[in-house]
Amino acid sequence: MSNLKASPVRLRLLITLLLGAVALGVTLYLSTAVVRDLRLLNSARSDNVQWTLSQAEVEFLEYDLHLNTSLGNLDPDLRTLRREFDIFYSRINTLRQASIYSALRDVPEFSRNLRIVQTFLDRTVDTIDASDTALTGALPELIERAEAVRPNVRQLANSGLNYFAEDSDRRRSNIAVTLMQMAAVVTVLLVTLLLLALYLAYLNAQNVRRRAEIVQASERMKIVTGTALDAVVVSDAEGRILDFNAAAEQIFGYSAAEAIGADLGGLIVPDHHRAAHAAGMERMRVHGEKRVVGKGRIKLEAKRATGEVFPVEFAIQSAQTDEGEIFIAFLRDISHRVKAEADLVAARDQALAGEKAKTDFLATMSHEIRTPLNGLLGNLSLLRDTKLSARQARYINNMDTSGKLLMNHISDVLDITKYDAGKLHLRPVQMNISTLLQDIIDNQSGAASANDTTLDWGWIGPPADWIHADRDRIQHILMNVIGNAVKFTQAGRVSVQAEVLSAPDSAPELHVTVSDTGIGMDDTLQSQIFDDFLTGDSSYDREVGGTGLGLGIARRFVQALGGGIDVESTLGEGSTFLIRFPITPIAAPAATGPHRRLRSGELRPSRVLLVEDNEINRVVAREMLVAAGHRVTEAANGKVAVDLAQNKTFDLILMDISMPVMDGRTATRQIRDGNGVSARTPIVALTANAMAEEQQAFLSDGMNDILTKPLTRDGLMQVIANHVHRDTDPPAFAKDASKAVAGAYLDDLRETLGVEALRPLLDRFVTEVNDTLAFLADHHSHAPAEIAARAHRIAGSAATLGAVELRAGLIAVETAANAGDEKGMAKAIAALPAIWFVTRPQMRADRDDAPDA
């Protein structure tokens, strides 16, 4: 109980005691008064005074009697007479002078008689003091005088008696009043005492109850701390242990009897923490500074009786008690938890390491498969340029088709790996979504018409042409979904609808709905359609083929764009895919001026330093470059490249990144930092799967561009065009027009459509020509009418784009096919690849300023 709480109780007690004391004081005072009055009442003095008054009369009578006796006597006893007179005289003197009779003398009756008696004495004293003879002679006169004054003496005594009788009455009544007062005060005192007794009894009862409560609470506390799973250790400010519960006994291995009274620091603080503990206790004692008390849960180490040090989590609180400040520590043995956590962390690390190993494995494998595949395709491309029989050409086309398909599959796996590793980075560019959709529709229209399916698209609401987005990824998604729709729809309709949905608070969303009247899906298939490696179960599905990764990748790309993809389908009736993702609409870019064109025939021979450690890749690249008329110097690693660049002038350096001895980045930095003759030569990185930030790093190393593997002839020609001839005079090339392509057509198209619109057209054209060439390669298995129709269609496109030589070749094929001239047709078909080899680079030359290159 604190002092603050106790004060009202003490105050009440004090007031009651004060009241009692006052009553007691008043009682004592009144008692004294009563005693005094009683004493006065009973005192011998009043008796004595009354006796004195009577005695005065007695003594007067004695004197008077002696006078009368002496009168007849011949020899009167004068000595005795004088003595009697003196005694009476003395008595009256006493009555006149004594202080105790002052009150009596104030009584007029008494005072008057006293004066008369005094006068008598004064008149008589001379006679008494006279000679014996004179006294004897004066006896008769003395008797006479005595008789005269006798009534006065009597009255003197009486008046005194009356006075004292009244005085006694007055005193009695005073005493009665005092007694009454005292009785009242005593009553008050008794009541006060009674109240005090009641109050004390109440306090006592309260104390008894509180004590019982405290005992109960203490018992409860004991049970609580005794059954607590945490150790509870209570110590005083000196660190001496005051309490040690059962859990503490179990955790620390000391019995409570051993622990209580022992020093906390010595008992449970590990040796290496003891100095800090002592310093902390000292700080607390001296400065009252508390660093751990009341600061919540803290993790530290503690020591068991066995000396074992183990981790604990604890909280300390302090409390003020009558014996000073005490500290209550709750400690929990967390050794199991700490171990479990460590195990968990280890397991997680292991799992992550395993996951990373898997991802790394996939990435590496993809890369490692792509490199030799690239080699195969490159060599196939070279092989195609050699003199081949029609059958060999067909085989090569087959191998090329298969190889490219394999390459696509590997790219798919790599994309998934990248996405799942969180390494998929968007490369947004300015793009025209309408153009993209049109291109895809155009691309798929062939397949659709082959399935007797109508394919159309259009905008719902206002179109949103120009946006800032990752064109390649969007193209991949739409191509995949629309391609699927076409693939699974026979003699039906595939309809693509685009719509921009604006929301007031967020970016507008593009919704592309792809509906088909195809085979549809059951619910089970719908729920799994976006899973990886999913292929339908029907023979038809197998017939159309696929890795089953397509929609899985589409889903990942849509999610990477911040959107989603959903499907609704009814088995046998068709499916509807909804692709939605936020877009950033932009204004149409200003029409770009005439671009430099790349014409293979216009290329001036360049001096190229090819730095590549993989021999096959190096050979393929070299052959491609040499075939295009360039001079190639090879280096197997960066070190060789740096040495070569020091003394030899190159127009371009193609630099692989990862190489033994010295990697491409280091080599680039050394070339740029050196003052060799090729220190300023453009350097283009060759890399299999460069991330955006890696590309940034390459550029900051001093590289000028990045060329993604697998290397293609076109890619190579493109970088040479971009970097080698950039500073040379463009018209010099323009004049030397190829007979294969009429550049004016393309220029016109570029001016009217714009580069962005022209590029996909050219791309599609290239794809179509490639497909057609593959188609024609095994013309034996196709009807001549089909061959004629196809050749006609492509010839039309070739005319539009100015590929005049290709158009002529195709028309030759068409004419021969229509005429049933199989020999002539075969010959015309065999001539096409050579024409296309010259034409194709020029068809793609206009992508030299592609933003994502």
């Binding site: 011998a44 003095r45 003395s90 003197n93 006493t94």
Partner: protein, 168 residues
């Protein structure tokens, strides 16, 4: 006990002899006090009689005090009761003091202490006549102690004293 009683008696006898040798002379003037009863020292017929001169010859004590019978403070001179009883070899318990008018009061011998009552024969340096409560007045030092301001003490303050009987 008996062996030690004899030497003790011898000492008493030896020391008592000079007291008898100082036996009281007979009074020459008017006798103002007669002490009778159990006395060691007497002069007339088994009593000790004193005139004023004889009393004045004893060690005198003077003090100032007020009394209830007088006004103001007065100086009283007399022989202390203690001195008187010692002079007379009084062995008794009680003194019966009697005045000229035969007023009598008992005074316990225990009152006779040093600084206690005196038999005053002078008030303010003057002897006292019978009319002034003389010639002898037993005065206690009332102002010295509240114990002496009691009714009992007042009653023992006998004036016009002329006889004391020592009672066993």
């Amino acid at each position: 006990m008996y062996r030690s009683l004899f030497p003790a008696l011898a000492v008493v006898v030896a020391t008592a002899l000079p007291a008898w040798a100082q036996s009281l002379a007979e009074p020459e003037g008017e006798v103002i006090l007669t002490v009778s009863g159990a006395l060691d020292v007497t002069n007339v017929g088994g009593t000790a009689q004193f005139d004023l001169e004889m009393l004045e010859a004893l060690d005198a004590t003077t003090f100032e005090t007020s009394t209830i019978w007088t006004e103001g403070t007065h100086s009283f001179t007399g022989v202390s009761l203690d001195t008187l009883l010692e002079r007379l070899g009084v062995e008794g318990e009680t003194l019966r003091a009697t005045a000229i008018n035969d007023y009598a009061v008992d005074i316990p011998v225990s009152d006779a202490v040093e600084g206690g009552p005196i038999l005053a024969y002078r008030m303010d340096g003057e002897t006292m006549s019978v009319r002034d409560k003389g010639p002898l007045w037993v005065i206690y030092p009332y102002d010295a102690s509240s114990d002496y301001r009691s009714e009992v003490t007042y009653s023992r303050s006998i004036w016009q004293l002329d006889r004391i009987e020592v009672m066993q």
